[in-house]
Structure formats: structure tokens, C-alpha cells
């Protein structure tokens, strides 16, 4: 069912400055190719990152980590370490008995392990010493008596029952952490209506974020106030965890997110080292810093979940999908992290691009003795998107339908509800598809052996519709201070390099008619700035952006009113812009307002509108106030002799809502394509018997400058009715279609299907060899394991679309 934007929009902000709804509203700052607000500091080396902090009397903290993937701790003896000269304190589990985790339902982590270690790298003790070498020497003196347990190393091993020694006690069954089982519409009936049914099994390997900056945190405890500086993407999460584990009131804890050396999801979770330095600062009365080594970052991980997938789709002869059944099995590693959300995400967004009338999703996340998986760019969505798009290519082949046409026939229309209750509003899905197909000449491509093109589409969130912990407060809050000292925006949002500080300054400058340089930004400091939930799920532009516009519009009204009252004219007659309010300069307007009202500050906030999801258990993961849509074509050469793949060009068309700053947008699209190519062709966080294969930058292969192809980006502005001036996200969506498009292009080039990523040359050669011997020419998982999913919760169409 389709209705107009009016029937669907939540709080409409108006697409232009001051709430002006003119389609052609003139912007002064928005849309301009201005450098980022912190540009000079970043190119001169002046930016102070977490590990650049040096405080008088500071101690260095090193964590002693488990060398075993799975072991019982019989005892920990730190006597010798404590008496080493230069050592100030050693903490073990009894100093920090309270568990934590990023979600209320996942409080399964200890700062320092008490009874058991569950992966190589699990922290056991924390040392504070005068310098790092002394702290490392002290770690070597700590005697831990381990009883080594059997390692659970894969999804298959984790599914084995009975289990002698489950990794965790509180699970669904054995080592199965969490099940999701949902059914929307009548799936059996849908399959009965199909002329053709196809099944595929696919696998997506895990990968690390490999942010260039290793995690680092520094704590100071003075009086009864704790301050922590950390390279975190979500200072609010860390704030809550410190308060809980250290039993300090929230008001006695301040968390400052330092300028970020890259996040990509790897710094969303609260970490043991952050709590350890805080406790050590409390114990020693001195500043304490902990900076992880690169190897430790690989163990800290929280990266992409390896996901095994099975998908079954029914379609009519002419390519209309009648039903889909999607199963996933996620290798979660040692702890829960955000894995419950990840599991839901592996099933939630298939319906955001294709109108699937009946849909069943069964997901299971298992615990293994490996570094914990969590959120990485695209959080749980790249894996099923890869599986779905490859599956649809094969379905199109079966039905002898053009793969683009097959998809177009099933596209979700704008302003509709999906069968699983997602509210879809603005959508450029049709347009991005047409444009990317035209730009890449996909339909007219020459098809010599070894050259191929692949096509895929995707959808992504503009922020999670629900917070990580249940509450009805805003997701983002902004305070705006305007006085004779200037204009300052305060917001908890965290700039992780994506440019969110720049977005905040841009929006406020636009509303107040100022140059962007006239707006100062203070962010990500829980002691100074109001709450923003963090930089994850591509939420900051949409949510913090709307909060900033809300605050700025209130400020604009105050200034207009002050000028209008003085001149005895109606406010509507007062023009804002070019550094002036009506007839007076901005500074004079501020003085008038201050004279009339005293201190002038305004606040803005944003919460997603109600009714963007269905009403059923599990409906909290997937909904978003808006979705972006992306289409990609990858053009490549694949060498049948060596199996090597050379990507020539990637065409990406992305529905961005509105471009707020083309420089930042380009950065996000290029970076997304880059990360997708890494995951499609090289990156793997893989293990042998619980040991990481290659925890180093050299051996963990990523694309370098010489590997990157040309990228042609096409941006489609759909002007979302609820986005800040119509803007939507760009940080994650453009990554999603690129991975399947690579695999599809390899099939186009060589006629073999590699149903698992990364596609390394050996897999290509194996598939070619197999085909030469009369086989099917496919490399990928053979079967999907038997998983004891519980019966599906059947969600009626009414419940799926009922507003909360």
C-alpha cells in the first residue's frame, strides 16, 4: 500500500533554513564543499588523540591477557608483580567483581576474568607502573594457574550437544547464545504459490575494523570525580558502564571521547581497559593510561560476525517473489557484545529493498573461543545482503530473467510498510538502480572471458529506531549557547572522522545565517554536552543533526523576536542571513536579546517518531526513521590462470536525501567502497584452534593505494521529509551492495560462483578446476547445519504494522 509523504511523516522540519519548505530554498552553507572544521589540526599534527595525552605523574597500565582460548582459572598470584620496583598497583578480578556489557541483556563481561578465560586475549590482571616496560615486566611475574579446556572453534563445533563445558552458563542451549525466530505472513502458502523455488547456502567471513589508531584510555580521579578520556565512539555507553562497575553516581563520572583515529564500529562497546584505568586511577590517586598494542586490538575485536546463511525463495515464472525463508548462524566469539542486535540485523533488512509478501527468519548466534564479534560498518547487514543478492542473481538465472529486472519487479515502493513492519518513507531505490545501470553500461557490457560486471542493491538505516537500553528520552540532545562571546554548539555526538562536528556546525550556521567558521562546536564530553547515544548505526547526521536544527531554530526565533520588538515590526519581516538579523548585525541582535532576556541558550532534541516499527518481540531492531538505498556495479578482470581479481571500477549510486557537504560525502562513499572491497577480496579474521591467524597489519590483508580502483559516485537527493534539510546517511549504506557485486562480477567473468567471501585466488582456482573436471564450478559451504531453532513467532500483518 502506498500513500503520500504527508500521511507518513513524523515531525516535519521543513527542507530549508528556518523551516522554509520551498523546494528551491537557498542555502548559504549546506551543500558547499567546505573543508572539515578540524581540518587544520588534522593536517598539522595538532589534533590530540587519546594516546597523545600526557599528564603529570601519569602511570602506564598494561593488561595481562589469557594465552589460552578456553581455560579455567585455578588461581592468580600477583605477589611478585606487586613487589617489582616501579609497580604501583595490580588489580585482579576481586577488585572489579561487577559484570558489564553494552546491552542490558548482555552483561556477561568481567573487567578481569575470575573463574574462566574464554578467548586468547581475555584480560586477567591489570598493572599500573611508572612506565610501560615496567608494567609489561610485572605482567610476566603474575602467576596464573590455568586448567586448559577444550576449544570451541567454529559454528559447527558450537552447535554440538551435549556440551561438557559450555563457554557461558546462561544460554539458549549449550553454546547457542541466542535464537531469533519470526514469521511474517503465511510463508507456506507463499511457497505453494511459487512456480520456482531456489535454495542457496553462503558464508561471509569475519573481519576486523583495523582502525589505524589503537584503543587508548586515560583516567584521573580527583576528590570524588572520575574523568576518563577514551577513543570511544559512544561515551554515553562508557559513562554508564563506569558508573555501574565502579559504583559511582553518574554525576561523578565524566567521559570525554577524544578525537578519533578511526572507529568503524570497533569502539562502540565499552572495554575492560577503560574500566581498568579508571579503577587504577581511583586506587593509586594518579592519572593512568592504557594504550593497546595492535595485537591486542585484534583480540579486543568486536568486528564483523562470520555468518553462515541459508536462503530459500519462491517466485512466480515472471520473477515475482512469493515467499522467502532466511536462516543465519553467527559466530559470535567469546562474549555477547551487541550480538543479539546483530542476530536480528541479519534478518531485518531483506524486506527493505524487496516487497516480500511472506517472510520467515531464523537466526542463531553461537559462542566460540575466539575474540568477541560485534558491530562493524553495516552491523549484521553486509552478510545477509551478500547472501540475498547472490541468491537473487541465481534465481534470475534460473528464471532466465535479467537480474536487474528481477529486482526491479520486486522493489519496495516509497511510503509503504514492509511485511515485518518497517516504515519505509523516502526512497530513491528505482532511481539509483536506473542511474548506476546507465552509467556503467551494465546491460551493454562486452563479456569476454575474464572480464565481468556485477550488480546489486541495498538499504540501510539512518540510525537505530530504538536505543540500546529501554528509555523514552531523546536519542540526541543539543545545547546552543549564544552570547557576546560567540556561538557554541554542545552535543554528545562523537566525531570519529566521518565529520559529525562539521555537520553540526554546518546546520547551526545555516539556521543562524552565519558563516560556518562562526560556529564553535563542543562535542562528546559527558560532563559538558547533553546526551547523544553515540556514533553507530549511521545515526548522527539524522539524529544529532535534527536536534541541532531544533535548537538553532529556537535561537533564531529569539534573535528575530529581539530585533522585531525593537523595530516594532512583525517577526516574519525580519530576514536572517549573511551575518545579520533584519537590519542589525548578528552581534547586535545577540546584544538586544541578552538585554531583554539575560542569558540566552536553547536546547534541541531528537527522538525517532512513534510508529516506525511493528508491535512484536524483536521489533526493536531494524526500524529507522529513514532508510537510504544504494545500487552498485563492479567492473573487474579475473585471471583464469592465477585466480587473481583486479577491480577496474566501482559505480555507486546512493540515495543520500540531501548532500550537506560534498567533501564529507565523497569521503564516506569512497571509504565504504574501499572497506567493501577489502571484505570481498582480502580481509579475514580467522583462527586455527582458537589462535588468531594473523594479528598484525602486515598479515591481515587490506587493500592499499595500489589496489584501489576508480570509483564513480552518483548521488540522488530524495529530500527526506524528516531528515535534517532532507539529509540521510552515507557512512554505511554505500558499502553494502559492493560485496555481492564483486562476487557477481567474478561469476560474470569466469562462470564460477564463489559463495563465500573473501574471494581469494585459491577459491577461484578451485572453482575453475572443479568445473574443468565436470563439477558445478562453485566454492562455498556445502550445507547449512541442523539448528534447533524454536518455533517461529507468527506475527500477524496487523501486529507487524501496528504502531507502537
Amino acid at each position: 500500500m502506498s500513500a503520500g509523504p504527508e500521511a507518513w511523516a513524523g515531525r516535519r522540519l521543513g527542507a530549508g533554513p528556518g523551516g522554509d519548505d520551498e523546494p528551491g530554498a537557498a542555502f548559504r552553507v549546506v551543500g558547499k564543499a567546505l573543508p572539515r572544521v578540524d581540518g587544520v589540526q588534522k593536517v598539522t599534527g595538532a589534533t590530540i588523540y587519546a594516546d597523545d595525552i600526557e599528564l603529570p605523574g601519569m602511570l602506564a597500565c598494561v593488561l595481562l591477557r589469557s594465552p589460552h582460548p578456553h581455560a579455567r582459572i585455578r588461581s592468580v598470584d600477583a605477589t611478585a608483580a606487586r613487589s617489582l620496583p616501579g609497580v604501583t598497583a595490580v588489580l585482579t578480578s576481586e577488585d572489579l567483581p561487577i559484570r558489564f556489557g553494552p546491552l542490558p541483556i548482555s552483561q556477561d563481561e568481567e573487567v578481569l576474568a575470575s573463574a574462566k578465560v574464554r578467548y586468547v586475549g581475555d584480560p586477567v590482571a591489570a598493572v599500573a607502573a611508572r612506565d610501560e616496560p615496567t608494567a609489561r615486566a610485572a605482567c610476566k611475574l603474575i602467576e596464573v594457574d590455568y586448567e586448559v579446556l577444550a576449544t570451541v572453534g567454529s559454528i559447527e563445533e558450537a552447535l554440538e550437544v551435549p556440551v561438557d563445558e559450555p563457554i557461558h552458563g546462561d544460554t539458549e542451549i549449550g553454546n547457542i547464545h541466542r535464537f531469533v525466530a519470526l514469521e511474517f505472513g503465511d510463508v507456506d502458502e507463499g511457497f505453494a504459490l511459487a512456480d520456482h523455488v531456489r535454495e542457496d547456502v553462503l558464508f561471509y567471513e569475519g573481519s576486523n575494523h583495523l582502525a589505524m589508531e589503537e584503543h587508548s584510555a586515560t583516567a584521573v580521579f580527583a576528590g570524588d570525580q572520575l574523568t576518563l578520556w577514551s577513543s570511544t565512539q559512544a561515551p554515553h555507553n562508557v559513562h554508564r558502564v563506569l558508573s555501574k562497575v565502579l559504583e559511582l553516581p553518574m554525576g561523578h563520572v565524566r567521559v570525554v571521547a577524544t578525537p578519533h583515529g578511526g572507529g568503524f564500529g570497533g569502539k562502540v562497546d565499552p572495554f575492560a581497559h577503560e574500566v581498568a584505568v579508571a579503577k587504577l586511577a581511583m586506587v593509586t590517586g594518579r592519572p593512568v593510561k592504557c594504550t593497546l598494542t595492535r595485537e591486542e586490538v585484534f583480540y579486543n575485536h568486536r568486528g564483523r560476525h562470520p555468518v553462515l546463511m541459508w536462503v530459500r525463495t519462491g517466485a512466480t515464472r515472471d520473477g515475482k517473489i512469493t515467499a522467502m525463508h532466511f536462516r543465519t548462524a553467527l559466530d559470535g566469539g567469546a562474549y555477547a557484545s551487541l550480538g543479539v542486535a546483530t542476530t536480528h540485523y541479519t534478518g531485518a533488512l531483506q524486506t527493505a529493498t524487496y516487497a516480500i509478501p511472506a517472510y520467515r527468519f531464523e537466526g542463531a548466534r553461537v559462542f566460540t573461543n575466539k575474540a568477541t564479534c560485534g558491530p562493524k560498518r553495516g552491523h549484521g547487514v553486509p552478510q545477509p545482503r551478500f547472501g540475498l543478492e547472490i541468491h537473487l542473481d541465481k534465481l534470475a538465472d534460473d528464471l532466465a530473467i535479467d537480474p536487474v529486472v528481477l529486482r526491479q519487479q520486486n522493489f519496495v515502493k516509497p511510503y509503504t510498510r514492509t511485511v515485518n513492519g518497517l516504515r519505509i518513507t523516502s526512497s530513491g531505490l528505482e532511481e539509483v538502480t536506473e542511474k548506476v545501470v546507465a552509467a556503467s553500461a551494465f546491460r551493454r557490457r562486452p563479456r569476454p572471458v575474464g572480464h565481468g560486471q556485477g550488480f546489486a542493491v541495498s538499504a540501510y538505516l539512518c540510525g537505530a529506531g530504538f536505543p540500546m537500553y529501554l528509555n523514552r528520552m531523546p536519542h540526541s540532545e543539543v545545547n546552543l549557547k549564544v552570547d557576546r562571546g560567540g556561538v557554541t554548539v554542545f552535543c554528545g555526538a562523537t566525531d570519529i572522522g566521518q565529520g559529525s562536528d562539521t555537520v553540526l556546525a554546518t546546520l547551526v550556521a545555516e539556521e543562524l545565517g552565519l558563516a560556518r567558521g562562526d560556529v564553535r562546536v563542543v562535542t562528546a564530553d559527558t560532563g559538558l554536552t547533553p546526551v547523544d547515544l553515540g556514533s553507530y548505526s549511521s545515526r548522527v547526521t539524522f539524529m544529532a543533526g535534527n536536534a541541532a536544527i531544533d535548537a538553532a531554530r529556537k535561537m533564531r526565533a529569539i534573535l528575530v523576536d529581539a530585533v522585531a520588538s525593537r523595530g516594532g515590526q512583525p517577526g516574519a519581516a525580519v530576514r536572517v542571513g549573511d551575518g545579520g538579523i533584519g537590519e542589525v548585525s548578528f552581534e547586535e541582535a545577540v546584544a538586544l536579546a541578552e538585554e531583554a532576556r539575560g542569558t540566552i541558550s536553547t536546547s534541541g532534541s531528537y527522538a525517532p517518531p512513534k510508529g516506525i516499527s511493528g508491535r512484536f518481540r524483536g521489533s526493536g531492531v531494524g526500524p529507522s526513521p529513514a532508510f537510504t538505498f544504494t545500487a552498485a556495479v563492479v567492473d573487474l578482470d579475473a585471471d583464469p590462470l592465477t585466480g587473481e581479481v583486479r577491480v577496474n571500477k566501482v559505480f555507486v549510486a546512493h540515495d543520500i536525501g540531501r548532500i550537506l557537504n560534498p567533501v564529507l560525502v565523497r569521503g564516506q562513499v569512497d571509504g565504504s567502497v574501499y572497506m567493501a572491497l577489502g571484505e570481498a577480496l582480502m580481509e579475514e579474521q580467522s583462527y586455527r584452534k582458537g589462535l588468531h591467524h594473523h594479528p598484525s597489519v602486515l598479515e591481515y590483508k587490506t587493500p592499499l593505494a595500489l589496489d584501489m580502483p576508480a570509483i564513480e559516485t552518483i548521488l540522488v537527493e530524495t529530500i527526506d521529509p524528516e531528515g535534517p534539510y532532507g539529509a540521510k546517511e552515507v557512512g554505511q549504506g554505500p558499502m553494502l551492495p559492493v560485496v555481492p557485486a564483486v562476487v557477481s562480477a567474478i561469476h560474470d567473468a569466469l562462470g564460477v560462483w564463489i559463495d563465500e567471501v573473501p574471494v581469494t585466488p585459491d577459491k577461484v582456482l578451485r572453482a575453475l578446476d572443479q568445473r574443468a573436471k565436470g563439477g558445478e564450478g562453485r566454492v562455498g559451504p556445502r550445507r547449512f547445519p541442523d539448528i534447533p531453532y524454536p518455533p517461529c513467532t507468527k506475527v500477524s500483518p496487523d501486529a507487524a504494522t501496528a504502531s507502537l
Binding site: 581540518g39 599534527g45 582502525a211 589505524m212 589508531e213 583515529g261 578511526g262 572522522g497 593505494a705 595500489l706
Partner: protein, 163 residues
């Protein structure tokens, strides 16, 4: 050779300033720059010579400061990212990086700039391939390298007096 852990005085020229500092025999140039001289613009991403974040110029050559002992570069002229600009005037590479968005999180930027500077000092009209080759030891996870390669090309053109 002195025993490990023993210290001595090392003289360096850093960004044109003579510096004299006590260093341990096993201390790397990276550690001395960051921790002794407090020039934290130079970054570490691995301390194993694998990521390029710590790239500096040593007597004009592109070097990984995490793989050099400070005692090995006694008397050398070191240039770090802090030495690129002339007072408030940014180097054309810095300007171009900023304008084109070649620095996102900014953590690889110092190393990228120094690798690019070493290239342009030798080759004032590099091809795109030569730029990519010169930067192939510097890992960046944000940009996909595209805007960085463009920025180096733009800076080279400006240094030649074009554009």
C-alpha cells in the same frame, strides 16, 4: 655496545631545531619524538613497520620512525608533520589534503603527508601510478586512498606553479 636499558645523550635536528635528549639504547626514534620531545603529530599504528603511520623524513629520506633506534640517527635532520608548515602557512600538501577531504580521522595523515613530501621532493610531476606507489606503505582505513592520491596530485601541480 652499552648494555640494554642504559641511556645516553643524542643530538638531532628536528624540524630545523637542534635538540639534545637523553635516550635509552633501545628507544625508537618514534618514542623519542612522541615521548621525549612531545611531538605527538607522528603516530603509531603497529610499531612493527607495517602501517606507515610513523613515517618521517630522515636526512630527506622517507623512514619509518618505529624501526629506527634514536641512537642510529645521531646527528640526522629529522622532519615531522609539525615541520611541514611555515608558521601559519600550510604546505601545499596540507592545503590540498584539507580541501579534498584526504584526512578523515586524520590518524594516518602525518605519515601520508611525509611519504608524499618525500615523493614530491624527488619527483615534481608524479603520475597517478607513481603517487599510489609512493603511498603503498601507508595504510588508511577511511578514505579508500582516492582523495589522498588526488590531493598529492593537486599539491604537486601547485608546487610547480600550476592551478
Amino acid at each position: 655496545m652499552s648494555p640494554p636499558g642504559s641511556s645516553r645523550v643524542v643530538r638531532l635536528s628536528v624540524n630545523g631545531e637542534p635538540r639534545e635528549t637523553i635516550v635509552a639504547e633501545n628507544e625508537t626514534l618514534l618514542e623519542v619524538l612522541r615521548e621525549r620531545l612531545r611531538l605527538t603529530g607522528t603516530k603509531h599504528g603497529c610499531e612493527l613497520g607495517e602501517c606507515g603511520a610513523c613515517t618521517v623524513l630522515v636526512d630527506g629520506d622517507q623512514k619509518l620512525s618505529c624501526l629506527l633506534l634514536a641512537t642510529e640517527v645521531e646527528g640526522a635532520a629529522i622532519v615531522t608533520v609539525e615541520g611541514l608548515a611555515s608558521g601559519p602557512d600550510l604546505h601545499p600538501l596540507q592545503d590540498a589534503f584539507m580541501e579534498l577531504g584526504a584526512s578523515q580521522c586524520g590518524y594516518c595523515t602525518a605519515g601520508m603527508l611525509m611519504s608524499a613530501k618525500a615523493l614530491l621532493d624527488e619527483n615534481d610531476e608524479p603520475t597517478e601510478g607513481e603517487i599510489r606507489d609512493a603511498l603503498s606503505g601507508n595504510v588508511c582505513r577511511c578514505t579508500g586512498y582516492a582523495s589522498i592520491v588526488d590531493a598529492v596530485g593537486v599539491a604537486a601541480a601547485r608546487l610547480r606553479g600550476e592551478r
